[in-house]
């Protein structure tokens, strides 16, 4: 081994330490970068290459690889669970705003409006000739109608918002697919680009939060991304997703010409789809049933009675409520303006003392006018459903959050950066660097000594 060999070994050591310091500083720099995977240098000694029976020392050190400390199993699980987590987070928000519409823990719910309406009929029955009671009944009817249509409008507004939000998310999906495709191609041409792989994994995770996708790596390190069986990204490019409303006001998601509604299993978009077109659409249907059956029952009885003028309840052309439309809840309103037209009397000449028809209408509160249920029972079932829905969504959110936290911890245990650990590494490699420099300086001295011998 020559003295120049010492210089060479020193150089390999210097380079290796520098590379290790680079990696350490990159780790420190990215300690807070989401999705960053800790990198680590793999050092190996350079063998001497000599054939010898006696021990020979090697030629120094080399950086044989820089690796990502990546746990693909945990990462896959994490993606899946984050997707579910973002589904439940989004869904529980929607369920929370739905239950607020039907919040009967306060005194301002729809329930008191129903009771007040029927009590007003009861009061008209107590004093059928009084215009005061009749006017207050019309007010009570208007209030009830406005609460029902208010609930409808609230739900319809949220549906509109959710559709807009879905459009934004679809645009994000398309951007992400495009970026994944671009990264794929860069990674294929430069397989060692660790940070690009991190970026791509982060994008896949982001995509999963919007909508659950499956990712298959091909032989060249490309990610093919599928939504159900439909490709979003493959070797040839990325494919745009789109969302539109069909004639039933339901969202339809597609990739190219393929409808992917049934392929969506989790993520925010699926939450949007479920909340908007199942949950909210369901409550809207129930509100319509409520408004239709209530209006019909009241109107039928109103039409059978006689008003203060001795005319039939619908003689003026209008009944108590406006005739139910296809959007009965939205359009619910009191049709009568003149309190004299309320049909309190059951007999043609009964006015003003005959209260039998007003009493009959007041009694509708206790009969099964909505699919066999009383109006308040029907309504309290809506309240219970909305509450149970929000409650189970909240439970899922808690469960999913803790699951994701556990997995995140597990991933961090492998892939995360510990600043203390990096500080130790920093000292270690710094000392190695100093020692290597010292070694070169010693080699230099040795050379000086030799050269001095011949002077």
């Amino acid at each position: 081994m020559s003295i120049l060999g010492i210089l060479n070994i020193g150089t390999t050591a210097l380079l290796a330490s520098k590379s290790a310091l680079n990696t350490t500083s990159n780790n420190i720099a990215n300690a807070s970068t989401p999705g960053y995977t800790r990198q680590s240098v793999v050092l190996s000694s350079l063998p001497s290459g000599l054939t010898s029976n006696t021990g020979t020392s090697g030629l120094g050190v080399s950086v044989s690889d820089i690796t990502r400390m990546y746990d693909s199993f945990t990462s896959l699980q994490l993606r899946t669970e984050k997707s579910a987590s973002s589904y439940w987070n989004a869904y529980s928000n929607y369920a929370g705003s739905v239950e607020n519409i039907f919040n009967e823990t306060s005194d301002t719910g729809i329930g008191p409006a129903i009771t007040n309406f029927f009590n007003s009929w009861q009061q008209v029955a107590q004093d059928p000739g009084s215009t005061v009671q009749r006017t207050s009944l019309i007010n009570a009817g208007q209030y009830l109608a406005s609460r029902v249509s208010g609930a409808y409008n609230n739900l319809a507004d949220q549906q509109t918002q959710i559709f807009k939000n879905s459009q934004d998310l679809v645009t994000q999906v398309n951007n992400i697919s495009q970026q994944i495709y671009t990264l794929n191609e860069k990674i294929v041409s430069s397989p060692g680009a660790l940070d690009l792989k991190d970026q791509r994994d982060a994008l896949v995770e982001q995509l999963n939060q919007i909508t659950r996708v499956s990712t298959l790596a091909d032989g060249r390190g490309r990610y093919n991304v599928y939504l159900g069986g439909t490709a979003l990204v493959d070797a040839t490019g990325s494919y745009n997703m789109a969302v539109s409303l069909d004639i039933n006001n339901a969202m339809q998601f597609s990739v190219g010409s393929t409808n992917v509604n049934s392929s969506m299993s989790s993520g925010q978009l699926k939450a949007n789809l479920d909340a908007r077109d199942t949950t909210m659409a369901g409550y809207i249907t129930q509100l319509n049933t409520f408004a239709t059956d209530l209006s019909t029952a009241i109107n039928n009885q109103q039409n059978a009675g006689y008003d203060l003028n001795g005319a039939l309840g619908n003689a003026s052309g209008a009944s108590f409520f406006t005739a139910p439309t296809a959007f009965a809840a939205r359009d619910m309103a009191v049709a009568l303006n003149d309190p004299r037209l309320i049909a309190a009397s059951g007999t043609i000449a009964g006015a003003p003392g005959d209260n039998t028809n007003a009493q009959a209408i007041a009694n509708l509160a206790n009969s099964g006018i909505i699919g066999g249920s009383t109006i308040i029972d029907f309504y309290s079932k809506i309240v219970a459903d909305a509450g149970a829905d929000a409650q189970s969504a909240n439970t899922y959110v808690k469960f999913q959050t803790s699951l994701v936290n556990q997995l995140e911890t597990q991933r961090q245990a492998t892939s995360g950066v510990s600043l203390d650990e990096e500080a130790v590494n920093l000292v270690q490699y710094q000392k190695s660097f100093e020692a290597a420099a010292k070694m070169i300086s010693v080699g230099n001295d040795l050379l000086d000594t030799i050269i001095g011998m011949v002077r």
Partner: protein
């Protein structure tokens, strides 16, 4: 397990969130005094609260009806009481007239005229703006004060009010059939019998006076029977009222048990809140202490 920097940050974040969330919920409960603030806090309970509140509303409606009905029945009762007194007076006048000298008969006629006027007044009793003896024609007097016969709008219909689910009471007595009738008047009604008494006294027709007095006897009994009936109805209403009051307080308690915090629960919540505050404080102090330093701080 390797513990990394981000792990610590996110763990502290999650812990802070959890603690803050539970403090928020406790604060909300204390501030509103309610255990349940949204349906999802307990869907089944909130659903039954909805039904029970509707029940309470219905009870209030029935209590209201009982109030109106009681007012009408009381007025009817005291009117019938007056009518009974008037019948007694008429009988007294009739009896005296049988033994009176012919020159005094005119006085008796004018006395009976007064009684007839008063009886018409009773028939046209108003409560608020309603004529209570007019049947369905509550906006018009029951009896035409010129003729003593029923007005065209006066009917024999009974008005019933619902005072509880499935329980109705009649809240009126009609002038028709008892106090007066359509023309011609006869001895079957109070004013009819009084009018024939007047005619008989004027004509000094002893047999006629006798017939009218017998008719008034029968009518006096009828008025008493009507009064007794009203007594029964008022009694019924008292019972329903007691029942409704009891039910009201049961249901109110049931709603309040489900919805509102009891004193004990409030005390417990306050203790909880204090504990949570303490744990939040310590969490914060540990977090700030721990996260501010790393090994780098100790390297030269």
């Amino acid at each position: 397990m390797r513990i990394t920097t981000q792990m610590m940050y996110s763990q502290f974040n999650a812990d802070l969130q959890t603690t803050m969330d539970s403090i928020y919920r406790t604060d909300e409960q204390i501030a509103t005094g309610k255990k349940l603030n949204r349906p999802s806090d307990d869907p089944a309970a909130v659903s039954s609260i909805t039904t029970e509140k509707a029940q309470l509303g219905t009870f209030a409606g029935y209590q209201d009806a009982i109030g109106s009905a009681t007012l009408l029945l009381k007025a009817t009762n005291s009117s019938l009481q007056n009518l009974h007194t008037l019948i007694t007076n008429a009988r007294q006048i009739g009896t005296n007239a049988t033994s009176a000298s012919p020159q005094d008969l005119a006085t008796y006629v004018s006395m009976i005229d007064n009684v007839i006027q008063s009886a018409m007044g009773v028939a046209n009793t108003k409560v608020g703006d309603k004529y209570i003896f007019s049947g369905y024609g509550t906006d018009q007097p029951a009896v035409d004060t010129a003729t003593g016969t029923l007005t065209a709008t006066s009917t024999a219909n009974l008005i019933s009010m619902q005072i509880n689910t499935g329980v109705s009471v009649n809240v009126n007595v009609t002038a028709a059939g008892l106090i007066s009738s359509a023309a011609p008047l006869d001895n079957t009604t109070v004013i009819g019998a009084m009018t024939s008494l007047r005619t008989a006294i004027q004509a000094n027709d002893q047999a006629g006076i006798h017939t009218a007095l017998t008719a008034l006897d029968t009518l006096s009994a009828s008025v008493l029977t009507s009064q007794a009936e009203i007594g029964v109805r008022m009694n019924r209403m008292d019972l329903e009222k007691q029942y409704l009051t009891a039910r009201d307080s049961d249901v109110t308690n049931s709603v309040s048990d489900k919805l509102m915090l009891s004193d004990v629960e409030i005390a417990k919540l306050i203790t909880d809140a204090q504990q949570k505050q303490t744990s939040l404080q310590s969490l914060r102090s540990i977090t700030s202490g721990f996260l501010q330093t790393s090994l780098f701080d100790f390297l030269k």
